[in-house]
Subunit: 463 residues, 2 copies
């Protein structure tokens, strides 16, 4: 590890007027530099984790501000370096002046995420925890927040590190066999290794699967509301959004534009897309709307296919299949206007029949207008997204982790095959090394400068 | 003074994503409330001015964030109450969640400026210092910053308090005379009182005059550049702004719109207004531009009247007088294109003659095109604004202070007259009380709830 020798400075609170703003200084000279401009206390003599009142003076002796200074002595700080934080009046003039002053006194303007990068380089955080810091700051739903916080607290990376170190033990034993290859010895217990590989695969596979969910948490779940004209799609959207967003009318073909709005259900962000009714039309503008509906369908994570209760179930199923949903796409079939068909005792039979004709898709009787079935629909939406992810602690949201885990799985599969086919130990050792490498990049036991640059580039300044 | 009994909470850093955000808690229960949601240290046991790492837990035991907590024990805090500051990850989700959580635990959402209001109520700051806090935060030029900081540090209010307490002494002696009015005694030394009143007036008068300057610092100084067509007004504006803002051409009447841009000279903000050339015209659009020029002239703090060196000086002076500047308005007469008249040995005589014909206005030979005289012009602009305000410590920027000082001066004048005319002591005592009252409102020795409300209403939340 390269330990930085210079001292960095940045404004750590959002810019703009506010009651207070915090300027942060980290590095071996942090206390010395801060002390040069601070009047009120000798910052080189005060204990760690203490706060001191004083004034900031320019080199000409003019007062820039009255402030509170917090002192952290290495290694008891976020970066594990000496750190000083100035809490000033929240004026851009003062805060910019202070940063300039500290640069004049020997600090360097920090790059985005450089404080967190130093925390990583000094072993305060592993790499996936460092990445979680940025995700925690960006989180604006409860679900995103839970996942990021669990990642920050090391939920997955502890397990990964533990499994990886056990893998390393086997790898070194197998490498040892290679050194004695003439003698046909086996230091590594093949059965125990097989068990470990299986354990690792059982750990990695659900994580890989969780990425779709993690991604949905991050970006929101796209839900397209589709169906023939006038089945009540806009009414449903309005009921969900609890406001009159879409123009509702009895004239088929009212909705031509793609309307989008989002709500949170149980901390998950759903982006609802109301689409033009699907039908053959001569109207060029409406036809364009319908083409866009089909585009939206292919991009949706979940499709709400809407129909009315009394429709021919076979025809309904045929048109549902025409949507050509991919294997990843989820769907709920809504049988709307159920309130108008209360007299139909067999409406539950219809529901059952539609479900079975459409490949056991979830099917719901409802009345968008009256709000009947709305809560069940919301629950279904949550269930479809959560599916088998029982705990947010076992969810990955980061594309880099996803790719590393897929590489790990590939190499583990190769190890497994190699063991089954009694391949020579040097080939098995090679695949083991690949798996260990891929796992090691997640928590940053293995990293390159380029990787760090690409990770911290997207951080905010001052973090 | 009413001492608040509840505990207030607010986000003190600007909203928006950032590396960190600070939530502030102040009041008798601050430490107790903070301790209920904080895991890591018993906040009721730690010393003042110390920082502690831990986690924030919701009532359900879920972690909201990892954070640093700063503890301040009364009276050693900004508000002189117990205070706790949470330094969290700068995510709106976390910061809003934390404020909600603290409210659930018994805190109340703070009103704008309520922390500073409490600092005032507990005697940490006087009222003019409290007002300076908001002005310091809003300051975005060096001059505004200097004035606000000097006000915050008590520059003027210390003097005011001292003079007021001496006034109080006299007032009480005179009131005593009233009690013995039958006996015709004089407890208060009339000569010493006269001297004090003179001293006070000498202190108050320049402060009142400084308000125009203070206001200019706050809002910027409006400078109109006016003159006949094609004397080089746009060229001058460009030279001042150092960019090609106005369209410069040799065709008279090119500038029709009022162009505005601002620069800082020596920390003071100048808003320059280039106007259409003043002349009779048939062109309706140009005529409209000229009408607007005259409007700009009446609104300007400083008028730069531009002409060329070789013009008839008497005609120039006549047209300058037509501008009808008010007594408050300042002007500089610019004799432009001096480079083209280098052969005129008598150009300095022209300058002298113009100056004397225009009532000894500042007159400057220059070449806007070549930049000759530009630095002298800038220096003149600064001198005109600063005028007799030698120090930013003796400047008031606040309308409320201005009005209080004018009331003080009026009452002092009445006292002075009363003393000269040997008026009865009860009448003099009345005017003295008025003066003391007006002075007392500045630093807040006298205040009403309505006054406090109107002052703190404009503060940011969390300050």
């Amino acid at each position: 590890m390269i330990h930085p020798t210079d001292t960095i400075v940045a404004l750590s609170t959002p810019s703009g007027e506010g009651a207070l703003g915090v300027v942060r200084l980290s590095g071996p000279d942090a206390r010395r530099i801060a002390d040069r401009i601070f009047c009120g206390k000798d910052l080189l003599q005060v204990p760690s984790h203490t706060i001191h009142y004083g004034t900031i003076r320019t080199s000409g002796g003019k007062i820039l501000d009255e402030c509170l200074v917090s002192v952290f002595i290495a290694p008891r700080s976020y970066t594990k370096e000496d750190m000083v934080e100035f809490s000033c009046h929240g004026s851009s003039y003062i805060l910019e002046g202070l940063v300039r002053l500290l640069i004049t006194e020997g600090a360097r303007y920090a790059e985005p995420g450089e404080f967190t990068k130093r925390a990583f380089l000094h072993g305060q955080l592993d790499l996936s925890q460092a990445e979680a810091v940025a995700e925690l700051i960006a989180a604006d739903t409860g679900a995103q927040h839970r996942v990021a916080l669990s990642q920050l607290r090391g939920g997955i990376s502890d397990r990964i590190k533990n499994l990886r170190s056990r893998l390393i033990k086997f790898a070194s034993l197998i490498e040892l066999e290679n050194d004695f290859s003439e003698e046909d010895v086996e230091f590594a217990d093949r059965t125990a290794l097989k068990d470990l590989v299986t354990e690792l695969m059982d750990f990695v596979q659900p994580l890989i699967r969780s990425f779709a969910y993690g991604n949905a948490l991050k970006k929101g779940v796209a839900v397209a509301i589709v169906g023939a004209p006038n089945v009540g799609k806009s009414t449903l959207l309005n009921a969900l959004l609890q406001e009159e967003k879409a123009i509702v009318s009895a004239i088929p073909g009212t909705t031509r534009d793609v309307i989008e709005d989002s709500i949170r259900i149980d901390g998950i962000l759903y982006r609802f897309i109301d689409t033009a009714g699907l039908r053959s039309t001569e109207d060029e503008i409406e036809a364009q709307g319908i083409r866009r509906s089909y585009e939206q369908i292919t991009k949706a994570d979940i499709v709400l296919y809407m129909s009315v209760v009394d429709e021919d179930t076979h025809e309904l199923a045929a048109r549902f299949k025409e949507l050509n949903l991919s294997a990843d796409q989820k769907a709920i079939i809504l049988l709307n206007k159920a309130d108008q068909y209360k007299h139909l005792c067999h409406r539950y039979d219809i529901q059952e029949s539609v479900s079975s004709l459409c490949g056991r898709r979830e099917t719901l009787l409802m009345s968008a207008k009256r709000g009947d079935g709305l809560d069940s629909l919301k629950q279904l939406l949550v269930d479809l997204v959560r599916s088998d992810h029982l705990s947010d602690q076992m969810v990955i949201t980061n594309l880099r982790h996803y790719e590393a885990l897929r590489n790990t799985l590939q190499s583990l599969q190769a190890v497994q095959e190699g063991l089954s086919n009694d391949l020579p130990s040097d080939l098995i050792a090679l695949d083991l090394r690949h798996a260990m490498h891929a796992l090691g990049t997640i928590s940053g036991e293995i990293y390159s400068d380029d990787l760090l640059d690409s990770i911290f580039r997207d951080f905010c300044i001052g973090k």
